[in-house]
């Protein structure tokens, strides 16, 4: 499994993450992982659920990504918020 897929799984496992956002992607054989780019830095773009302070959530996400991607800088883009009640 490619690192980007591990990063994707780690992010989606967090309750405050609604989805990843497609401003960029990792292109793999057979699929691409939207919202994750792993190079010398890791970049992720997330859509969060409304409610908790973004800074707290981002710190947790950064820690989770570091567990799977190692000690590299993690750039987090919060590209949108969704209301948990409006999600279907």
């Amino acid at each position: 499994m490619h690192v980007s897929e591990d990063v994707e799984a780690a992010l989606l496992a967090h309750p405050a993450v609604a989805r990843l956002d497609g401003v960029f992607a990792s292109y793999l054989p057979g699929r691409h992982v939207v919202g994750v780019r792993v190079e010398e830095r890791v970049e992720v773009a997330v859509v969060l659920r409304l409610g908790r302070p973004i800074t707290e959530v981002v710190a947790e996400l950064r820690a989770k990504v570091a567990q799977v991607a190692g000690p590299v800088p993690v750039d987090v883009v919060v590209s949108d918020l969704v209301d948990p009640e409006e999600e279907s």
Binding site: R41, L48, P73, V76, V78
Partner: protein
Amino acid sequence: MAQTTAVKPENVPARLADDTAQGRTTIASSVVQKVAGIAAREISGVHALGGGVSRAFGALRERIPGAGTANTAGVAVEVGEKQAAIDLDIVVEYGAGIVDLARAVRRNVITAVERITGLEVIEVNIAVNDIHLPEDDEETESAQARVE
């Protein structure tokens, strides 16, 4: 001679502190916009957002370095690296004290945006565009029945 170092004010949000080592955090302006819009609508007495041309919008541009602009549905925001400025166009319910209402909206928006995004809100400009009357909902009745 010692170098002059800038003293950090106590109340600056502790955001972006270790950004170079651990990575940057970018918060899209639509995120700030949504938070501000929701916070404004929470106050009772606010009938709707928007409704007028966002006239004050252009005046704020370029005030914050590196700012992006976004504007939908009566909420215009400018988001810099550490600060945000917000313009609101609101329609109030008839009967609400506009000065008090605006103060409440401003307070709620600042609290919500600072808590959720960690950005310092430098200003919230509120334009009251219209007053919503209870009769507006049932306008067919008021038009007739004056002369038979």
